[in-house]
Symmetry: D2
Subunit: 221 residues, 4 copies
């Protein structure tokens, strides 16, 4: 797939710039752009990417309706009501929503369910390290990891250090052994690539609400 | 299953002692014992455990034939010929053979094949750390891990430090992210428990050559 | 120094047994023994080791006075009043008191002050992992590490996993780099050896209150 | 110090760009620039920074002589003869040369000598992880770390994974404990800042050959 027109919300943010880089390399054309500073419309997007903020969510919804095209939401910190509105939208256009578009984190989630086939009485600990500027504790990804665990009340340790990009570890401890799975991100590019994979996935769908896990599942088959 | 009579080769070694502890807790009775120092026969074993050395392998074979009972081999460093002889024996009695009886390492092997469903162009690195007294480099377990990787020429780094019991890590590195799976053993008990699981598994078999992976597979179903 | 008579409080505990092993290897003779079960007196100890519990502290004090000999306290969880009483005792006999007798942890404490000579605006995070049976959170050693940091309000993450013996990490994070110092204990023997070093140290002192840091300082000169 | 004119060799490389960013923030003016593509001279530099390649070394030497100003060499892979020529140059102008300008690595080197005051019979292992594009094995920094160890024949494990920026670990293992010091770099900026520190250091010197360790030593006093 080439020469696809796409629109980008939050185009001047760090992730937005990375998305432009990756989509450009695949000959996708940026025809609609919305940022805090300005709005530019050069054509009709065939797919919309939202890398903005929850405050911009109303714009996201109305643009998806206006262009009636697939939507990828990479905004973090959406409210329950906003997620609900997204699911309603998904009844008419296809939507992918995730708090983390890295392939490695998706694989880590798969591995967790694999481990749990074999051990159910081992202790579980989750820890995450991020840069000192990150405000939410624990990270959205750590919460996603905890939700993948079939166990109530799993402890999450949050460390804030320098400008660490993002590290997540889940450890399973039995008497006599510890098994750990760790993921470390070293650039935003990995997220932009996940968003691009999601675009390829969505362009073949009619409608429906999907997560990045659904995107990855299709790859492995 | 209780009151099972078992025999133990290498009963005075470190692993042999741990096996006695775990099997004793499950009301298994030690009725045959062979060590460098002595041989004691108090009854007919219904299962044999070999925690001795490759040098003792001839004894292992003849005892398994004499008692015509299931055999678990935890001896490391067997030659190709010895493994072959074991497979021949397995045509008449059931046999489990493995270089590592910890549950965690078996799970790690499963996770490797799971990861490989999603990534095939990521770099792979294996590393292992053991106590300064370990003579083989790399460890048998590290080789087992490398064999689980669908890629030729994977590098293994071997570190020798103090009396570290045994640590193994496999890392997958893509551009922008690294996913690592680590296993750390902290006591021999975990191996003795794996041997006990293998005993329960074998006591229900008629014949056949099995690995500890087969034992674990049965657990997860 | 050989053929020294020593007394041991808490002789049947895990650390007490390890102390007997190490002191025995150096031809020290156990002539006085106190445990939850019994008291045995075969001679006059020239030094006393306390590996018991805070509840036994009154016995420790009165025995040190009765034998008028050096005292090593390895009991954890002493109250401020008990530490005060120990310092009063130290006016007449030499005393070493510490919550961690491993050489590595003492070196880690030294390294912390070394790092702080160069960086003062880096983030600091401390984490510790121990077995699931450990009740105190954070560990006494983690608190000792935090006290070595010239900064208020340093976060400590506490993980509880299987039967991990004891791991402590302190990380310093600047913009663009992270420096971490980690210590991992793999056997109680290391603590018993630290106690033996402290015994050699104390047998040359007349009186005074010392920490294990003082013992280690003497070694490096 | 502000409004200093500086010259930059290798100005279009990754490190060169980062140097421009950091020096610009401190109001240093780029007046001389040399890259593979072009040479630009807008004024007389008061200090020269070399972030180019060993192949360019002859230019570096002659420019330093021509401008008769302090020189910082961040080029890696210099030959013994080139280092010798640099030392001869240092008889007339001040020079700083290092293979790693991060503060953290310098602190790590200090910590190594601190650890060695206390332990001399512990095992030592060095490991380093870098991106798959790095050609030299082991890294120059790992060799620098090995040189800081008072022990012959220390093993270095080299791992190549994705686009890991640079990680170095040195571990000391005694019987019963392991002490590890790790450094992880997450951006080139940390190196550019070390080069800027070196510039401030050099601008106060008359002549002499210095390492980045000398620069850091001055900071801590």
């Amino acid at each position: 797939m080439k020469n696809i027109n796409y629109g980008l919300l939050g185009s001047t943010g760090k992730l937005g710039k990375e998305v432009q880089q990756v989509f450009g390399e695949h000959q996708f054309n940026l025809v609609y752009e919305l940022s805090l500073e300005s709005e530019t419309e050069k054509g009709i997007p065939q797919i919309l990417i939202d890398c903005s903020l929850p405050e911009n969510f109303e714009n996201t919804l109305s643009l998806a309706k206006r262009f009636h095209c697939p939507l990828i939401v990479a905004t973090t910190g959406l409210s329950a009501a906003q997620l609900e509105a997204l699911k309603t939208l998904a009844e008419t256009v296809p939507v992918v929503q995730s708090y983390n578009y890295s392939l490695g984190i998706q694989i880590l989630l798969k591995l967790i369910s694999e481990v749990q086939k074999y051990v159910d009485d081992w202790d579980i600990e989750i820890s995450e390290t991020h840069h000192r500027f990150k405000k939410d504790k624990p990270s959205g990804t750590a919460i996603m990891i905890r939700n993948a665990v079939e166990k109530s009340e799993v402890n999450i340790s949050s460390l804030r250090l320098g400008n660490v990009f993002g590290e997540h570890t889940i450890s399973f401890g039995g008497l006599g052994e510890v098994l750990s799975i760790s993921h470390s991100a070293s650039s935003r590019r990995t997220f932009a690539e996940g968003i691009f994979r999601s675009a390829l996935f969505l362009l073949k769908k009619e409608k429906g609400f999907y997560t990045f896990t659904d995107v990855i599942n299709e790859i492995s088959h």
